[in-house]
Structure formats: structure tokens, C-alpha cells
């Protein structure tokens, strides 16, 4: 008992221990991995932060993290390795190498769906392509990046990529309205997200767009704001760009003096940095300024200088601008022969059709992107709508189910109620039937009583008839016979009288009956003698079929005793017992203290009606009779009830 109880407690304990250790082991495993990846990510972050100041240190961190990622097969870490290395090469100015790394990083990011650095990677690659003049590929990258950034809710890159897109519109597609709308979005987003460093580039692009649209007021306003945003010392490149836009405005306004003033402002800044693109822009602006101030030869010389500088660079749009300026200068110098030759040369080097197509493709891509975005919005709305439809259907279905349940419950209870009602009706029917049965029973009882009463009355009529008959004779023997017959009839009438009077209609309590029978017979045959009859039957009751023969036997026995036993005596005793010995076994004992019947007379007596009746009725009761004569005359009759 105790043992089984112990086991009862130990089993859950054992299971708990197993569960605990398993969970611990699993958690340690997971936490180990998490710890490693966290270290790797930390190293990459450190590398990124130190990239501008200490490229060597940054490179070390990246290599460490990259190696560890490969060791523990941490896919994201491996992909990040390409991205950060690309960033390092970008910083170093090795744009071709950087672009290779970025391309690889992008393919791995897309493959593994590591989206954190993906928009930034697209932007950087796009910028490189843009600077390399691969405008179409650049646009693809910007749009892809924008896609991912919007999905990821990466606001920084959304803004940065928007600026790049605006730059593309300004520089390549010449869609200034498009650029301004993109910038509007970016500005709103930057305001909302308080992304301060974006304002400078945004204003700069605004300046360019408005300038190209010849909205010089707006252009100057934005350029001024851009110059405020770009600090001269911390970001000279951008400040220079802003200055050049300002220069362009003056150039367009044909204000050569102001243009020179701007260029003079720009010159020291330009000398402090190394940037081919900006130098080209400066050179071009300077050439234009010289052209506008009428110093054509100097302008032409400047153009020549720019051309030699750009010879090894594939910057077609810049080359086109220089060509256009040269053409104008040559015309101004009226050197038409040289101008025509320049035009033909340019036609050879540049496939204008190709360029137009190239730009056209960009516009198409941009339109496609807008269309795609619009489609996605529609899709999202449809999804929301279908969700709401599902919700509505779900709600309706829920209500329907609820109604069905309520209905079922209602019918269930109504059915129950009906059943209960039916039961009540049934019960009342049953009680009515019971009442009818009771009444019928009472009626039947009444009828039975009436029958007993009538039988008794009829027996009395017979009795009276015999009485009347007896009066007609004086023959003593006949009178005696009539008397005996009447007492026999009376003993039967008494039984019916008893049954009529008492509660039970077929079972007779024989104590009362025998007592009354004795009194009646005493009144007939008692010849002024003191004979007492003692009856003791206990609680024995007999059926009417048994009671009548027993009553008749007793009538004979008592009559016999009263007539013959107490001759020559003044008093006597008669004892009557009825006993119930067993289920079907009754015993009648009759005795008197009379003289008894002598042997000689007994044989004679056997032939009398009284004795014949006693024997016959005993036989009818399937009984046996014994009698002995001594001090008492004793009759013992055992019969079946």
C-alpha cells in the first residue's frame, strides 16, 4: 500500500526532472547560438561605425565576423559580410569592386529573405551604377530598394531612395514634376520621422528640379536652404553641389558675374576634396561663365580641357553638355567648319537613338513601378475587404449557430414541457381510472354484500317454510327432523350474515361465528341445563367454501352433545379449538365432558344423518377424523384449508 503510494508520487517527479533537463539543454543550445550571432552582429555594427574614420579596423571587424559566420554556418552573417565589404570598397572609392560585393549581397539577401540591409544595399549599388552612367540598372535598383523599404517600413531608406529617384528624374529622365512629387513624399516622411540629415539632399533636388523648370525663385529658395543644411566643413561635397545648382540658376539667368562669384566661392572647397564628377561640373560651369562673359577662346580652351579629362570616363550626358557648349562657342566664333566637324564626330561617338531609348526605358520602368504600387494598394484593399467579408460571414455564421442552438434548446424545452403536460394528463387519466376502479370495486363489494344478504334472507325464508310445515304435524319425530334441518340451514345463514356484516367478503373469522352458532344451538336444544361452550380459534380465518362444511360439522357435533351427552346431568362443558398448523393444515378439536357414546351405540349412530354428514363433510374437506371416548368425548378432525 505504502509502496504503491510512493510510486504514485515519484512518477510525476521523475517526469518533471526529465522535462526540466530537456528544456535546460535545449535552452543552452539556443542561447549559445543566439550569443554567437549577437557577437557577429555587434562586430558588423562596430565595423560600420568605424568605417569613416578607421577603414583598417572596420575591415578587421568585418573579416572576423564574416569568418565566424562561415564557421557556424550563420547565413545572414555570411550575406552581411558581402554587404559590409562592399561598403568598405565603396569608402575606398573602388566602385567596381564594391558593386560586385553589393550584387552578391543582394542575391544572398533576397535568397535568404534577410531584408534589414537590403534597401540600403540597393541604394548604394544604384548610386554606383548612376555614377557609372548605367542609369537604367540604377533605376531598377532604386525601385527594388524602395519596394523592400516600403514593405519593411524602413523609413530612412525610403527617404534616401526617394532622393535618389528624384536625382534620377532630374538627371536622366528630365521628369521634373515626377521628381518634385517624389520629393514631396520624402519631405513629408522626413518631417514625420524627424530624419534631419535628409533635408539637405531633398532641398538640393528641389533646387535642381525647379531650376530646370525655370522656376528660379523656388530654385534659389531651396538652394539657399540646402546650403544652410550642408555644412561647409563636414560635408563639402554636398555644399559644392548646392553651389553648383546656384551657379546653374545664374547661368540660366545669363548672369555671368554672379556665376563667377559662385564659382569663386566653390573653388577653394573643390580644391580641398577629390571628386571627379564635381570637378567636371565646376569646369563646365566655368566654361559656360566664360562663354557668357564673351571670353569665347578661354571658354573653348576650358571645354578642351574638360574633354581630355573625361576621355577615359564614360559619362555621356556630361560629354553631351560639353559638346553642346563647344558647338555654341564655335558658332559664336563663326568657325562653322569646326562646328560641323564637331557635330559629325559627336554623332559617331554617340548613338542618340540608343540614348533616347535608354531614357525611355527608364520612364517606362518608373511608370511600371507606379502601376505596380497602385496594384499592390488595390490588392491590399481587396484583402482588407475580403477579410471584412470573412469577418461578416463569420459573424453571421456565429449568429446562425447561436440561433440554431437557441432553437434546439427552445424545441427541447417545449418538447419537455409537452411531455410533462402529457404526463399530467396521463396521470389525471390514471387517477380518474383509479377512481372509476375504486368505485367499481366499491360497487362490486356492495353487490357481494347484497348477495350475501339475499342468500341469508332466502335461507331464512326456507327456514320459515320449514317452520310453517312443522306446525302442520304433531308427529314428534317429524318435528324433531324439522328442527334439525332448520338449525342446519341457520348455521349456513349465519355464515352469510357474518360475511355481509364484516369487512372481508370471503374470509371468515370463525371465533365469532362458532360462538354465535353455539348460542343459537343452545337456545334450541338446551333443556334448562347449564351447558357452557368454550370456543378458542385464535385468529384463524377460513374461506367461505371451508367455513360452511366446518360450520355444519360443528352444528352436528354440538347438537349431538346437547341432545345426548348431558343426559341425567345438570351441567356440562363443551370445548371447541381450531388450530392452523401449517400452510394448508387445520385441526378442529371438539370435546365435551359428557357421557360419551357406548361402543354398541356407536355402530348404530354411524348410520344416522348427523354422523353421515360429519363423515361426508370431513371427506369434502380432504380431512381425517378421530374420536375417543373417556373422561372427555374427543373428536379430532384434520383438514386442508
Amino acid at each position: 500500500m505504502k509502496n504503491s503510494r510512493m510510486r504514485f508520487y515519484l512518477l510525476p517527479l521523475f517526469l518533471m526532472v526529465i522535462y526540466g533537463s530537456a528544456t535546460y539543454a535545449f535552452q543552452t543550445n539556443v542561447s549559445l547560438l543566439q550569443k554567437d550571432t549577437a557577437i557577429i552582429n555587434d562586430w558588423y555594427t562596430d565595423a560600420f561605425l568605424s568605417m569613416k574614420d578607421d577603414l583598417k579596423k572596420s575591415d578587421d571587424f568585418i573579416n572576423k565576423a564574416w569568418k565566424m559566420s562561415i564557421d557556424i554556418a550563420y547565413e545572414k552573417g555570411v550575406s552581411d559580410g558581402y554587404y559590409y565589404t562592399g561598403c568598405v570598397y565603396e569608402q575606398k572609392g573602388a566602385m567596381n569592386v564594391a558593386s560586385r560585393y553589393f550584387e552578391k549581397a543582394i542575391s544572398l539577401y533576397v535568397q535568404g529573405q534577410f531584408l534589414d540591409n537590403l534597401p540600403d544595399c540597393y541604394r548604394r549599388l544604384g548610386e554606383i551604377y548612376m555614377n557609372q552612367g548605367r542609369n537604367y540598372t540604377a533605376l531598377l535598383n532604386f525601385l527594388n530598394g524602395l519596394h523592400v523599404a516600403e514593405d519593411q517600413r524602413d523609413y530612412v531608406n525610403q527617404i534616401e531612395l526617394s532622393i535618389q529617384l528624384a536625382n534620377y528624374h532630374n538627371r536622366v529622365s528630365k521628369d521634373y514634376d515626377g521628381a518634385i512629387s517624389v520629393l514631396n513624399n520624402a519631405e513629408k516622411l522626413a518631417n514625420k520621422q524627424i530624419y534631419l540629415s535628409a533635408f539637405g539632399p531633398i532641398y538640393l533636388q528641389y533646387g535642381i528640379s525647379y531650376c530646370r523648370q525655370r522656376n528660379y525663385e523656388q530654385a534659389r529658395y531651396y538652394v539657399r536652404k540646402a546650403k544652410q543644411e550642408f555644412d561647409v566643413t563636414s560635408s563639402p561635397d554636398n555644399h559644392l553641389k548646392a553651389l553648383f545648382v546656384e551657379g546653374e540658376i545664374y547661368e540660366k539667368l545669363l548672369d555671368g558675374e554672379q556665376l563667377f562669384a559662385v564659382l569663386n566661392q566653390a573653388k577653394p572647397l573643390l580644391d580641398s576634396i577629390v571628386n571627379d564628377s564635381l570637378e567636371t561640373t565646376y569646369g563646365l560651369l566655368r566654361a559656360k561663365a566664360l562663354y557668357q562673359t564673351g571670353d569665347y577662346n578661354a571658354a573653348l580652351a576650358a571645354c578642351e580641357e574638360l574633354n581630355t579629362k573625361l576621355a577615359d570616363q564614360k559619362r555621356e550626358d556630361d560629354q553631351y553638355l560639353i559638346f553642346a557648349l563647344q558647338f555654341k562657342i564655335l558658332y559664336a566664333l563663326r568657325d562653322f567648319r569646326k562646328a560641323d566637324q564637331l557635330f559629325n564626330d559627336y554623332e559617331y561617338t554617340r548613338d542618340s537613338l540608343y540614348t533616347a531609348q535608354y531614357i525611355g526605358q527608364g520612364i517606362e520602368m518608373s511608370e511600371n513601378y507606379k502601376l505596380d504600387k497602385f496594384k499592390r494598394q488595390i490588392l491590399e484593399q481587396e484583402l482588407k475587404l475580403s477579410n471584412s467579408i470573412y469577418q461578416r460571414y463569420g459573424f453571421i455564421a456565429g449568429i446562425a449557430v447561436l440561433l440554431i442552438i437557441l432553437g434546439i434548446l427552445y424545441f427541447h424545452f417545449r418538447e419537455k414541457d409537452k411531455l410533462a403536460h402529457r404526463e399530467v394528463i396521463k396521470n389525471s387519466e390514471i387517477s380518474v381510472q383509479n377512481e372509476i376502479l375504486k368505485q367499481t370495486n366499491r360497487h362490486n363489494e356492495l353487490l357481494m354484500r347484497e348477495i350475501h344478504h339475499r342468500v341469508k334472507n332466502n335461507l331464512q325464508i326456507i327456514n320459515s317454510l320449514l317452520s310453517l310445515q312443522a306446525r302442520k304435524t304433531t308427529n314428534r319425530e317429524v318435528v324433531e327432523m324439522m328442527k334439525e334441518s332448520r338449525s342446519r340451514i341457520n348455521s349456513i345463514a349465519l355464515i352469510h350474515n357474518k360475511l355481509y356484516q364484516q369487512q372481508s367478503l370471503n374470509k371468515l373469522n370463525i371465533q365469532d361465528y362458532i360462538e354465535q352458532l353455539g348460542v343459537h344451538l343452545l337456545s334450541i336444544y338446551n333443556n334448562n341445563k347449564n351447558v357452557r361452550i368454550h370456543v378458542d380459534t385464535g385468529e384463524v380465518t377460513l374461506d367461505i367454501d371451508i367455513a360452511i362444511p366446518v360450520g355444519l360439522i360443528l352444528t352436528e357435533l354440538i347438537t349431538n352433545s346437547l341432545k345426548y351427552a348431558f343426559v341425567e346431568r345438570e351441567d356440562g362443558e363443551i370445548y371447541i379449538h381450531v388450530k392452523h398448523n401449517g400452510e394448508n393444515d387445520y385441526e378442529l378439536i371438539f370435546k365435551d365432558n359428557g357421557i360419551g357414546i357406548p361402543e354398541a351405540k356407536l355402530n348404530q349412530n354411524n348410520d344416522t344423518l348427523g354422523f353421515r354428514l360429519i363423515h361426508s363433510l370431513t371427506k369434502q374437506l380432504a380431512g381425517i377424523i378421530h374420536y375417543t371416548f373417556g373422561e372427555f368425548s374427543l373428536y379430532n378432525i384434520r383438514f386442508k384449508g
Binding site: K456, Q460, I461, N463, S464, L468, R471, Q501
Partner: protein
């Protein structure tokens, strides 16, 4: 037990069973009474007693017709002031109770014996 002819009381029997009535008549005559009339029903009894004017009536409770010996007893008490003894085989409580209300001179249960009849009649006349 037999009585003087000169002072024979006249007894009227109301009983619907004529054989029993006959037997009773013999018994009464044996005892020395005069049976001055017999009738089986309420109405016949009322018709006869006007004329017969008996000293005592032996009255069965259940009679022919719709009226009972009890109804007859009430009329006897109210209009004739003739004493009566009920003569019946009914001994149930209800019958005894309604019979008692008519203040009979006696209540004899059938079957009765000669001496019982005698005692009852003599009591009714106020003699022992």
C-alpha cells in the same frame, strides 16, 4: 307464555317477505297475540291502520316500493302515535343510526327466536 284471550293485544305486521310473515304470524299467535293485519308496503300500511288501529306494529325496514320502514315510522310518530318495533336483518351502523332517530320501542335482528320476540313485545308494552 300464552296469554288470556280477553286481553289479547293486536299486532300489525309490515313485512315484504310473506313466508317470513306467515311464520311470524304463527309465532305471534303461539305467544297469544292477535295479528290484526299484514301489509308489504308503506302505502298499504297507511291505508289499513286507519281502520285497524293496532296496539303495536312490527316493522321491517326495507319494504316494497320506494318508501322504507323508517319513512313509515316517522308518519306513525307524527300522526298515529302507535308504538312499533323494527324487525330487520340489517345491523350496519348507518341503518341503526337512522332507525334510532325514530325512537322505536325495540330493534329485533332476524333470525330471532320465539323467546326473543316475546321479550321484545312485552318490553314495548311496558310489561315484563
Amino acid at each position: 307464555m300464552k296469554k288470556d284471550i280477553a286481553i289479547m293485544e293486536r299486532i300489525y305486521i309490515v313485512e315484504d317477505q310473506m313466508i317470513i310473515t306467515l311464520d311470524l304470524q304463527h309465532m305471534l299467535e303461539d305467544l297469544g297475540y292477535e295479528v290484526c293485519g299484514i301489509s308489504p308496503s308503506y302505502h298499504e300500511t297507511l291505508n289499513n291502520i286507519e281502520v285497524v288501529k293496532p296496539d303495536l306494529i312490527l316493522l321491517d325496514i326495507f319494504l316494497q316500493g320506494d318508501k322504507t320502514g323508517i319513512d313509515l315510522a316517522h308518519v306513525l310518530n307524527q300522526n298515529y302515535h302507535i308504538p312499533f318495533i323494527f324487525l330487520t336483518s340489517h345491523t350496519d351502523d348507518q341503518t341503526v343510526k337512522i332507525a334510532k332517530e325514530t325512537q322505536p320501542r325495540g330493534y329485533l335482528v332476524k333470525p330471532f327466536k320465539l323467546n326473543e320476540l316475546y321479550a321484545a313485545i312485552e318490553m314495548a308494552f311496558g310489561r315484563t
